[in-house]
Symmetry: C2
Subunit: 150 residues, 2 copies
């Protein structure tokens, strides 16, 4: 993966720096989390001090352009980033718990049908979509939380 990154960067005349390595590693190790730039910053800070928040932003944006990450907004005005694993590219939605803030992934291809319908009815050419469900996760339901805080 490290090598893949290096090659991809080289092709664009860019360089592999320790900061870029450590950010990628952090994101990879976490798997399917949905971190804000600030959370990524805190995370890599535990490993090194040689990085700034500005670099985190620049690096995350770079990785988005390289299709290593995907930007994702959870509706609270803060950008989040997640691994762009090709397999779940298009059929990958988010369940956002309004009680505890956790973000759960859900895969389904039901939207294909809807996209076809939209193309026909509205003449709109779809490139991407974003589907989020807000509500109350299983754990919070058990705890008896209402799930409607905010």
């Amino acid at each position: 993966m490290e090598e893949k990154l290096k090659t991809a960067l080289h092709e664009k005349g860019l360089r592999l720096t320790p900061q870029r390595q450590i950010v990628l590693e952090a994101m990879l190790n976490l798997g399917e989390s949905h971190l804000t730039a600030d959370q990524v910053y805190s995370l890599v800070k535990t490993q090194t001090n040689d990085i700034s928040l500005a670099t985190i932003y620049r690096t995350l944006e770079l990785f988005v352009e390289m299709n290593l990450l995907r930007r994702f907004d959870s509706g609270d005005g803060v950008a989040r980033y997640e691994i762009d694993s090709q397999k779940s590219e298009h059929y990958h939605h988010h369940l956002i718990c309004l009680s505890c803030g956790s973000i759960i992934e859900f895969n389904d291809d039901l939207l294909d049908e809807l996209e076809t319908k939209i193309s026909k009815k509205a003449g709109f050419k779809i490139a991407d979509h974003c589907l989020r469900f807000f509500g109350c996760c299983k754990e919070c339901q058990k705890k008896g939380k209402p799930g409607s805080s905010q």
Copy 2:
């Protein structure tokens, strides 16, 4: 509608002010637009100078709490507000043109099926959802725009 607002406010011990009236009117007259706070500000400024941007924010948020408006984020980090007409409450999605920025509404109830599936599979209790499609609208396709200008 004016009266309805007055009553609704009274029930909460709140008051009907000229600013609140004019904001509601502006939103109602526009029908199904999706304005940012700043756009609402510019709009009402053409009618009166007796209003500030801070009041626009406070008023829009108040109307959201009263279910007169719905907050809606188009993915560019700016909050937009739209009339919360009950009829289209749940089956109401947005097509966002990446080329010209226009926002088109689309109604469909296909998500019901998906929501049922999610409740069962993930045990997640859904309160609301947000579905946005990004792509290229009919007009921009005619003009030969690619529809991916960020």
